[in-house]
């Protein structure tokens, strides 16, 4: 899919903007604080209903206005989607082809973007909970109902943890016999989460290995594994009943310890996603540049996987990718994007120099200055 038209009114530093875009690589050039990332944010927001920079959506409204409007025409396999979004201090209202969208999960399968932002660079070194959140979100476009699964699992987990604490603290009416009532559900929903994550990692691994090899010009090998005591990493395809059985056994084995800690010790909420660089945990061995390359490889892999599953490419947004890549790797990135034949990519950069532009024949360049955008 690709973005054909974008209109902004009072979004961040854009008071009024209308742009039409072409397929291929679109480079947005501008100095700091001119509105490059704001433009990417608008494209991301209209396609996901979320900002990749802020939770406070009213920050997206221009400081001199009370409401912001974004509208976009996205071309895809199912024809044109006209999305319009209206944002004020009460929240946002969204329409797709004039049909009102009342729930975010309804919107999820409409369009898709994949965004690289410098904030993603922490992913590899961050807490496991951040990685779980990242990958859970990456799974969503493929299975919108996964959102319900994780929310349900989370609720069961909270109930069970509370019960474990009540039993540990000998609260009135709290007895071990009550645990079984929650265990079955924990296992059922938990197994669903485990399998979704395990299968996602199995699917994305070949892409990640191949793309990282290209980006690093074959110097290093990167891989990814889902770390769970319930599914050994070496296993490929796993069967749901086997996962449930092992979850059950592991839970039984941990029951005494759980009662001592007052906390559920087994399950997808304790698992992690592990990046392996040349057989070592990437967390310890990665340099700054390798981090950037690995995350870029992950984003391109998500892009390729989405294409494999849905039949069309998502829109790829790359914020400030060249700043820490040396010339060789910058060229490798552009080559990879061209070789994959990604339908549409937006890249921001501070200046035109340093962009391997001679390699990208039919790209479009835009200059961004104080909230205005002009083709160059």
């Amino acid at each position: 899919m690709h973005l054909r038209e974008l209109r902004l009114r009072d979004f961040r530093n854009y008071t009024e903007l209308y742009l039409s875009f072409k397929r291929g690589i679109n480079i947005l050039i501008g100095e700091n604080a001119q509105g490059k990332t704001n433009l990417l944010e608008a494209i991301h927001f209209i396609n996901t209903l979320q900002s990749f920079r802020t939770q406070e959506e009213k920050n997206l409204i221009n400081t001199s206005a009370r409401e912001a409007v974004i509208s976009a025409a996205v071309e895809g396999g199912c024809g044109t989607k006209n999305i319009s979004l209206f944002l004020d201090d009460k929240g946002k209202r969204v329409k797709v082809n004039n049909r009102k969208i009342s729930r975010a999960s309804e919107f999820l399968s409409e369009t898709h973007v994949i965004t690289f932002s410098p904030d993603d660079l922490f992913l590899i070194k961050d807490q496991p909970s951040e990685r779980r959140r990242y990958f859970d979100r990456a799974i969503l476009p493929h299975t919108p109902s996964y959102l319900k699964t994780i929310n349900r699992y989370d609720k069961i987990l909270q109930q069970r943890n509370h019960l474990l604490r009540d039993i540990r603290d000998r609260k009135k009416g709290a007895e071990k016999g009550l645990l079984a009532a929650w265990d079955d559900q924990l296992i059922e929903e938990g197994a669903r989460v485990l399998l979704k994550r395990h299968n996602f990692v199995e699917e994305i691994r070949p892409f990640l290995e191949g793309i990282f090899k290209e980006l690093s010009r074959g110097q290093k090998r990167l891989s990814i594994f889902y770390n769970s005591p319930i599914i050994p990493a070496a296993e490929g395809a796993v069967d749901a009943d086997a996962v449930k059985k092992r979850f059950q056994d592991a839970l039984q084995g941990a029951s005494e310890e759980e009662l001592r800690y007052g906390h559920t010790l087994i399950g997808p909420h304790r698992d992690d996603f592990q990046f392996i660089l040349d057989d070592y945990d990437a967390k310890a061995t990665f340099s700054q540049g390798q981090h950037r390359l690995a995350i870029l490889a992950l984003k391109l892999s998500e892009t390729a996987l989405y294409k494999q599953i849905s039949g069309e490419y998502p829109i790829l947004l790359l914020d400030d990718v060249f700043s820490e890549l040396d010339e060789m790797r910058g060229e490798a990135l552009i080559e990879q994007i061209i070789n994959m034949d990604i339908e549409q990519v937006f890249i921001t950069a501070a200046k035109k120099e340093g962009i391997p532009s001679e390699r990208m024949g039919c790209s479009s360049f835009y200059l961004i200055r104080e909230g205005t955008v002009s083709p160059i």
Binding site: Q158, H162, G173, G177, A180
Partner: protein, 199 residues
């Protein structure tokens, strides 16, 4: 607001009701102001009677004006079946179908450790007494909601009932009648598949 004290007090009182905000409360209060005194007193009396006369059935916890509710004392009902539900309002929905002829047991809640609700806080003991007291119950149908709390309650009950040897069943989950499969979420579809049957 310049209106009298009793007028404002009524608005305050009405706002205690679920789903009633200040605007609706004000509208209702003005409406009542214009009502015939007889009519308005009728509403007040109905509320007083509700609190004075209704209570919970000693057997099934349904709302009733007698010690035992109309369903429990109805000789025509099938006493071999007990249908377990969360609230008296669920009973009204089930009765409206006119399909079920057995008895009920209202739990008045579901297990929820987060809200501090354990087995002693809902009417589980009463249910077990009914089942153990030689009432010749042959089937317990558990119809708590398919929420995680309703489900946990159902599973806990089935554990408790198992030693009595009484057949315990759970109402089916699945795709709502008259709706399109396309709009069912994955969890519902999986449950519906698991609960499939031969035709």
């Amino acid at each position: 607001m310049g209106q009298g004290g009793s007028f404002n007090r009524l608005i305050e009182e009405l706002m205690r009701l679920p789903g009633i905000g200040p605007k609706t409360a004000q509208r209702l209060a003005f409406f009542m102001l214009k009502m015939e005194a007889q009519e308005a007193k009728g509403i007040a009396q109905a509320i007083i009677d509700l609190k004075d006369k209704t209570r919970f059935c000693r057997i099934c916890n349904n709302i009733t004006e007698d010690e035992i509710c109309g369903i429990c004392s109805d000789a025509a009902r099938d006493k071999k079946k007990v249908l377990v539900i969360e609230e008296p309002s669920n009973l009204l929905s089930l009765e409206r179908t006119k399909e079920y002829k057995g008895l009920y047991h209202v739990l008045t809640g579901v297990l929820s450790p987060l809200d501090g609700i354990g087995p002693k806080d809902i009417k589980i003991d009463g249910l077990m007494q009914r089942l153990n007291n030689g009432n010749n119950v042959e089937e317990v149908i558990i119809a708590t909601s398919p929420t995680i709390e309703g489900e946990a309650t159902a599973r806990y009950l089935s554990q408790l009932i198992r030693p009595t040897g009484i057949k315990t069943t759970r109402i089916a989950y699945g795709v709502p009648v008259g709706s399109d499969l396309e709009y069912a979420d994955e969890a519902t579809l999986i449950k519906a598949l698991e609960g499939r049957r031969e035709i």
